[in-house]
Subunit: 456 residues, 2 copies
């Protein structure tokens, strides 16, 4: 028998889609200050809708940038409490001329809804809210206690929510979090993300001469910060992608043999990935590990930019007084940001070439996270997903970092069920972002059934 | 007996100085298009003055940017012909708030004349013209044939004069060039620069993925152009400043034992140089060579900038599709730009890491040059300098490149006598540029006596 809440969702799907389109028309680009009022408008629409469907304590929570949206419904004594998370802010739209239809005019085409924010993350936020609405109507209440916390700073670092979670844990008490901001591994394949890499983002500043010098006059005597950086960088990681920082790999908890075996059976073709996603001559990285292991379960060290010196067109022969490298490391379960940074910093000091001073600055961190496949909420999720999609769930990880997952873990003691319905080709952060319409409808049904199962 | 021309110069010195100040008031900044008309005005002032003092065929020669100034006087049959060179364009003035007096308000202070262009190079150009005027009056003609060729693009690459010299060598026929755009090794120490390093300026472009990628998703699989650049750079030069390109050092003509001995006796203190000029923790470079050898007579390889990726404040985790390094090499006598570039390019191809494509582009070149100390014009110059300064001339080299010297050599077959009167602390290219007034007056006398000696 179909759940009455699912039945309600199916009957009301055209309305749900129209409402989502209205939300997508608000250009809530969090990185651009001229869209601050749009971000607030999106937050207000969400607060109003949460109130309309019967949630309580609905409110805007101010942060230093864009506000949080909060709501709860806590009338299911003895049942667990879920904290539903998503974000209403979106990425900028440039290059605008590559969009086939305007980014803030939601357009249906080939079974997809094209709009900035459709998959990342308004479509998924709306799926959560519509699941709650369907449950509320069908159950005349909810099958578990629900808190909703939505942010508007996700694309700009998420400082506001991090501070709120760290300072007000009592207001967010919950048993687990439900995060809908991830994707299926492949179309039609129900997917749960159970692990995330953490990260430390650093700046490596090298100072040589007291001022910029002319390479004709001083080349051969003055230290060149760029060469010092090149020496440090090649000292940190070898040509094969192996990180040379002593002790860096010591605490890694490797994936279980079962997890590795499951990854091998995923529909993943390295050559297709190389050609279509990366587009490079070869893939790189540590020998003896597959691409999925290297990107999901191995730490990496990357350089993102080397500001300093002369970067214009043509020729200028400066030996700059200083230069900087933006260096980040991705960490995997077992590692901590504190220890990784300490090992890195100490080793950079050892690598420091003659003639220069080096300063290592920590800009940003996020702990790695992992949820066990036998966690009861993961089990509830797989039951729900099997029912809706007719297939066994695949458990994947992500090489990226979702810092809020670490924050929920650390401050609330809550594991995160990352149940998202994007697709790998949804063009999030790029022109022509889309959300597959079937994933919107089945996403709502999956979330309904998951909350019902989690309430049992 | 003092030369009548020197006598004339001494009597007219106050007027010469006033005229120089007028020239310095013209803000002929060649890098800034809004000063194009000032550059032309400076050129016109010079043409008018050259005509006034009796030079012939005085004219503006158009180039693609700022015009050349030409004049000649060729009525000394049987005498050699000198080509006098200098430039009337100046560097920008920023940071303007560090100037004690306005850069285009020439101000006398402590025996110096402060103004942008005072030492580099209007003061020296004016010294040449005033020497010619003094000779013209005292000799009722000139003791040798004189051509004057001044440029207005020296601070922006000197393309115009290079093209002119290459295409019109017959119009510039001469026996030697007299370049007044260098400095004394120390105050009061008559100096001739007899060697210059050449250079090749290149761009090293590395391309990895077809588009920018997120380091969370792709770190561990996608090639990072910055790491490829770091590997190539550390493969090109070792930690001790030794260039690793095979064959790079093969053709070097080392300084003679006499030249090396003379350098040892120059008033040069490495520790003072480290502290006051470079200001770094240590000096760097090849072991077994002094600072003067390393900067004057050894090739070097430097990086000037590494554009690409993310260079803003904060954290962005991009693995860029491509990155670039601005790499130049200084070359010393015996080496050629063509061979050095070919060796470099071939070796970069060998160093190319897996997964990336590398393109090496040649942006700019200048051949190294060296004039023998026993050249008769150098001998004439030392005689003149000894008479005016009361001291033996020191022969130095410069680590920098003056491309026009190579052009005069190649296209006109003319060696260059680099007789300049700047001082190491003249702040050329920096705030509070100055010209030592005594160097202006003794410079004029030196140039007068040199031309008289060269005519003998």
């Amino acid at each position: 028998m179909t759940s009455p809440a699912v039945e309600f969702a199916r009957q009301n799907y055209p309305r749900f889609l129209d409402e989502l389109k209205a939300l997508l028309r608000i250009p809530s680009i969090s990185t651009l200050p001229e869209h601050n009022s749009d971000c607030r408008k999106a937050a207000e629409v969400l607060v109003a809708e949460l109130k309309r469907i019967g949630m309580e304590n609905t409110r805007i929570i101010e942060t230093e940038v864009h506000p949080l949206v909060y709501a709860d419904w806590l009338h299911a004594p003895g049942k667990p409490t879920v904290l539903c998370y998503g974000h209403y802010d979106v990425q900028p739209t440039d290059p605008l001329d590559e969009w086939l239809t305007p980014p803030f005019e939601p357009t249906e085409r080939d079974g997809n809804l094209y709009a900035r924010g459709s998959a990342d993350d308004k479509g998924q936020v709306w799926a959560q809210i519509k699941a709650i609405e369907s449950l509320m109507v069908a159950h005349k209440g909810l099958p578990l206690n629900v808190r909703v916390l939505l942010e508007g700073d996700e694309e700009v670092g998420g400082e506001g929510i991090a501070t709120y979670v760290a300072t007000k844990p009592a207001d967010l008490k919950c048993d687990f979090a439900l995060i809908s901001d991830t994707e299926l591994f492949a179309p039609g394949l129900p997917t749960l993300c159970v692990g995330l890499r953490g990260m430390i983002y650093t700046e490596l500043e090298v100072r040589g001469a007291k001022q910029d010098l002319h390479s004709g006059m001083y080349g051969g005597a003055a230290p060149n910060p760029f060469f010092a950086l090149a020496e440090i960088l090649t000292g940190l990681k070898d040509k094969n992608g192996h990180i040379l920082i002593p002790g860096f790999y010591d605490d890694i908890i490797p994936p279980s043999p079962e997890e590795l075996a499951a990854w091998k059976s995923l529909p993943f073709d390295e050559e297709h990935y190389r050609k279509t996603e990366v587009g490079s001559r070869e893939l790189v990285g540590e020998a003896g590990f597959s691409v999925l292991e290297r990107t999901w379960a191995r730490p990496t060290l990357e350089v993102h930019g080397i500001p300093g010196g002369f970067v214009g067109a043509g020729a200028k022969t400066v030996i700059p007084a200083k230069a900087l490298a933006k260096v980040s490391m991705r960490l995997v379960p077992g590692m901590t940001t504190a220890k990784a940074f300490s090992l890195y910093k100490n080793y950079v000091d050892l690598l420091k070439p003659a003639g220069v001073d080096v300063e290592v600055r920590l800009i940003h961190t996020g702990e790695p996270s992992l949820i066990r496949v036998d966690n009861p909420y993961i089990q509830a999720a797989t039951t729900a997903l099997h029912e809706v999609w007719g297939k066994d769930t695949v458990f994947i990880r992500s090489g990226g970092s979702i810092p809020i997952v670490g924050d929920f873990d650390r401050h609330l003691g809550a594991p995160s069920v990352m149940m998202g319905f994007g697709l790998p080709d949804d063009n999030i952060h790029a022109p022509n972002e889309k959300f597959h319409l079937k994933n919107f409808s089945l996403g709502i049904e999956s979330l309904i059934r998951f909350m019902e199962e989690a309430g049992n």
